[in-house]
Amino acid sequence: MSNKTTINEIYENAPLEEVVFEVRFPGEPSVACNIDKFFETIRIKFNQVLVTIKAPDQLQIPELYRFESEDSKQGIIVGINKVAYFTKKYPGFKIFKDEALDVIQSFGKLFKLDKLNRTGLRYINIIPFTREETILPIRNYLNIEVNLPLISSSKFNSLNMAFVSKANEEGNITTQIRTILSQDKTREAILLDFDYSKDANLVINKVNNYLEESHGYTKELFENIITDEYKKFMRGEMV
């Protein structure tokens, strides 16, 4: 990691679209039978009930339900081996942590969870960009460099990369960086998606620590991957 100082800033024009904290545990069929009891604990805030439909060829264990707030900006996803809290209007880490832990701990208590398989904190950013002639000016936005013989990231037209890497001794980071197109195909953006995960020796009563650790790493990653130039725009220092 870079030696740049971690900066705790709230940005006026943050590109953050969604934040998800997910916990996976050994399959627990009682979740399917008692989901109504969990719903009773969250009904006031998350009263929209949605059922996820997966394509027949998808091998993942399906999510059972998605409970959303009325404005669909926050919600909870539940399956027999996972529970996740997501928000599309990130209120800052402290409030997000309180809300996420409230959900996870309440769920964990109801279904008597103990050991966990994985925790993951995921930030999904969308950065609209303007092409410079045909070139994707990636280095105006992100501090990434790809240099192959005769090929450089300063000449990319499009980009799609995804990788999983060891973050530190404790966790892994799954990163996706790619160009995306709006539905009406008129606007382009860079999707910057990273997910810090832990998958060894996890227990439910330490989930607070896991979330703090995940946030610390992803925050520093974000601050270092965004260029100083784009940070000016994020801070509102623009014409």
Binding site: N157, S158, T174, T186, M238, V239
Partner: protein, 136 residues
């Protein structure tokens, strides 16, 4: 630049990602899906301009210029209210290119117009335009 060219870039990438040579299979991570229902509101956010192409050079901005692009029927409009500047085109990119041409026009205009010939808002705009670029 035609947006179908951009679609072609993305289609080429998708094609490469979807295909694996016969007798092989993808190992580890082959695709990372995001939350399925991220909304499309990002498409209405302004995007910054950091450089302006002029002849064979690129002029660097001191601060990014925020450009909001909207669409009305078949026309796209790129605008920045602070600079009182607009561009239009039949595609998003053409509107941005038009915007940049107007930006350079007014930059040169204010550079070459003495203060004595300007008043009120024009003087304020001249100050804004004067301070746009890091170097010429």
């Amino acid at each position: 630049m035609n947006t179908s060219i951009i679609e072609n870039y993305n289609a080429d990438l998708a094609d490469r990602l979807a295909s694996t040579p016969l007798h092989y299979q993808c190992s580890g991570l082959s695709a990372v899906t995001t939350m399925d229902n991220i909304g499309g509101n990002w498409a209405y956010r302004p995007a910054p301009i950091f450089t302006i192409p002029v002849d064979a050079r690129k002029l660097l901005m001191k601060k990014p210029i925020s450009v909001k692009v909207s669409r009305e029927d078949d026309l796209f409009f790129a605008e920045n209210e602070t600079l009182r500047l607009y561009g239009s085109g039949s595609t998003h990119l053409e509107a941005i290119e038009d915007f940049c041409k107007h930006l350079m026009y007014f930059f040169e205009h204010y550079k070459n117009t003495p203060d004595s010939k300007l008043m009120g808002e024009s003087l304020k705009l001249k100050e804004l335009y004067k301070d746009l670029f890091l170097e010429e």
